[in-house]
């Protein structure tokens, strides 16, 4: 287990290193930062002076090394717009995004697994068909459209729920969270549904497909032959087998949710890092964009590691590190 985690962390370090090169090359070398930093009226001499003071006259690899040295110390430069360290800006907004993505994921699993399980076990019923039809809809409706419809309906038409912002937050373990206040819940529910709907549809389909497969297995029949009641056959023997693929997919999708929260955050003015990213791109605020990309990569790597560990816990046949 420990060996596995160390090996995975080394892999992760490699991924981040490669990513940092890509980001550096992509952001710092394509396009000229001087064009933004120096006023158009400045003389050629002024430009060279500034370039030298910023180290932009140095060879590429040296610039990258300078960037890297600062980056590992958490210094991605100051935001052009806010004048604050860009990493700090990202981290400040990260809880909002994580909270939204996690809420959406949990809702998708808590609703999706039972519905999918039902649709699989009672696949010939009208209820099961209705669930499947619903999941097709959940899959195919575009994210932004769902968000706008929800706002129209619940915020504009009925006025039940707020259409933007995060609402009241409380500090939990030093992090500002809104899921612990009633007002916060009112704010998070619509964006979470918007973000989680297609994931919920995905989980329903996955749960149904695996349930149909698992329910025909001999070990399920044997569980019944032992005289177990349906509650235990379904709740333990079938569900535990279904949770193996569900966990893997959910973990991977959580990464995607964090990355794609950008659209939902923009629609609901949710003050997360996705919205910050969009604002930063609009204002060509490069240090923030770089910090965002690196932070998201780190997050994805961490999520993958957790999923792998969970996977091995759920399915004993999977041994971490590949050792038999």
């Amino acid at each position: 287990m420990l060996v596995f985690i160390i090996r995975r962390l080394m892999q992760a370090a490699l991924v981040v290193a490669v990513m940092s090169v890509l980001v550096f090359v992509g952001i710092y070398l394509i396009g000229d930062p001087l064009a933004i930093l120096v006023s158009p009226e400045a003389t050629e001499l002024d430009r060279e002076e500034i370039a030298r003071s910023l180290g932009l006259d140095r060879p590429v690899w040296e610039q990258y090394f300078t960037f890297l040295t600062a980056a590992v110390q958490g210094d991605f430069g100051k935001s052009f717009v806010f004048g604050q360290p860009s990493l700090g800006l990202i981290l400040e907004r990260m809880p909002a995004t994580l909270e939204l993505a996690l809420t959406a994921t949990i809702m998708a699993v808590v609703i999706g697994v039972p519905l999918g399980l039902y649709a699989g076990l009672r696949h010939e019923t009208i209820g099961a068909r209705a669930i499947m039809a619903g999941s097709v809809l959940g899959f195919s409706l575009p994210n932004f459209w769902v968000g706008l419809m929800l706002i129209m309906l619940f915020a504009v038409q009925f006025g039940w729920l707020p259409a933007s912002g995060r609402g009241q937050t409380v500090e939990v373990l030093g992090i500002e969270l809104s899921v612990f206040t009633a007002n916060g819940w009112k704010h998070i529910i619509l964006p979470a549904i918007t973000l989680g709907l297609s994931k919920c549809a995905l989980i329903i389909r996955l749960a149904r497909a695996t349930a149909r497969e698992v329910m025909l297995m001999d070990y399920v029949k044997f569980a019944r032959a032992k005289g177990l009641d349906e509650k235990r056959v379904i709740g333990v023997h079938i569900l535990k087998n279904i949770m193996v693929p569900i966990t893997t997919v959910t973990g991977l999708e959580l990464g995607a949710l964090i990355a794609f929260a950008v659209i939902t955050e923009t629609i609901f003015s949710w003050p997360g890092m996705g919205k910050l990213l969009i604002d930063s791109i609009i204002h060509l605020d490069r240090p923030v964009v770089v910090a965002y990309l690196i932070v998201v990569v780190l997050l994805l790597v961490a999520i993958n590691l957790i999923v792998d560990i969970l996977y091995s816990v759920l399915d004993p046949r999977v041994r971490l590190g590949g050792a038999k």
């Binding site: 025909l216 297995m217 001999d218 070990y219 399920v220 029949k221 044997f222 569980a223 019944r224 032959a225 032992k226 005289g227 177990l228 009641d229 235990r232 333990v236 023997h237 535990k240 087998n241 193996v244 759920l314 399915d315 004993p316 046949r317």
Partner: protein
């Protein structure tokens, strides 16, 4: 006289399919008395397992019991409520499945799977249930049962898994055990040991046992009576000595010809030419007709299961007339 442990009357189990109804079990009747061992023999697809699952009430929909009665100690369990069936399954009627690799849940530990079986029928503590499980494992020849209980199925060999399944079936000392080819995955010594244990259990506790197999030689030394199934029907049934020594049905003769023993180990057994017909839209007449050397025009009508001597029934228009096997036939 007490009622037999199990009495099956005219059992019919059907699977509706797109092409028609598959009559997997078609009018099967038999009895198993207390402490008796019945060997159920037949080729692949003859309906042996489905007969077993019918008794347990575990036919997968859309398959269903379409007719007949299953009397378990006098109670017709084809009409029993789901709760009543659940009470019986695993406690009074246990089954050991054919494929040990698929019988145990891969994501649950052995102790979980055995303890839940104990607790499904009796209110006992986890500790007591675990002790029962360990004891059952020891009884089927598993060394260090406490350690084995902590394993996951994939950590055990096929033979070990089958013994776990057998031990699980024995947990509640059932009145009836249906053992579906339980020893095929085991090596010969263990096979002998298990056969001995099972036989002893039946004798000591009065457990009735239905032993399903392809392999006549296994049941020859184990069973009291033999029932031969072909294409969903019983074709011959009788005391083990009678059926083995004086088989009357051409199919039974073919099966005996395919028993290993006369042949060097590893050599392919004699097989009756042809295959079990698909159990769908069957033509009238004897189902063995297309593979039978004795078939004639009379065989276009279905023969009845007729009693040639007390307890010895044969479904054939041209039985072998109680003649013992000729030496050449035995060697075939």
């Amino acid at each position: 006289m007490t009622a037999p442990t199990l009495k099956v009357e005219n059992l019919e189990t059907h699977f509706p399919t797109r092409d028609g109804i598959v009559r997997a079990v078609d009018g099967v009747s038999f009895e198993v008395a207390q402490g008796e061992i019945l060997g159920l023999v037949g080729e692949s697809g003859s309906g042996k397992s489905i007969t077993g699952f019918s008794i347990l009430g575990l036919i997968d929909a859309p398959g269903h019991i379409a007719g007949g009665k299953i009397l378990f100690k006098g109670e017709d369990i084809t009409r029993a409520s789901p709760q009543r069936m659940r009470q019986l399954r695993g406690a009074r009627i246990a089954m050991i499945f054919q494929d040990p690799m698929m019988t145990l849940n891969p994501v649950l530990r052995i102790d979980t799977q055995m303890i839940e079986t104990v607790q499904a029928h009796e209110k006992v503590s986890d500790v007591a249930a675990r002790a029962r499980a360990a004891e059952a494992l020891r009884a089927v020849g598993i060394a260090a049962p406490e350690e084995r209980l902590l394993s996951y199925p994939h950590q055990l060999s096929g033979g070990m898994r089958q013994r776990v399944a057998i031990a699980t079936a024995l947990l509640h000392k059932p009145d009836l055990i249906i053992a579906d080819e339980p020893t095929t995955a085991l090596d010969v010594t263990i096979q002998g040991q298990i056969l001995y244990e099972m036989r002893k259990l039946c004798r000591d506790t009065g457990t009735a046992l239905i032993w399903i197999t392809h392999d006549l030689s296994v049941v020859a030394g184990l069973a009291d009576r033999i029932m031969v199934m072909y294409a969903g029907r019983i074709v011959e049934t009788g005391p083990v000595a009678t059926v083995i020594e004086r088989p009357q049905h051409p199919y039974t003769r073919g099966l005996i010809g395919s028993v290993p023993g006369a042949l060097p180990r590893g050599k392919r057994l004699f097989q009756i030419p042809g295959m079990t017909p698909a159990l769908i839209n069957l033509p009238p007449g004897c189902r063995f007709k297309n593979r039978c050397s004795r078939a004639d025009a009379l065989c276009d009508t279905m023969p009845e299961l007729a009693e040639l001597s007390p307890g010895h029934g044969v479904r054939c228009h041209h039985p072998y007339d109680a003649k013992p096997l000729t030496p050449s036939e035995t060697a075939a």
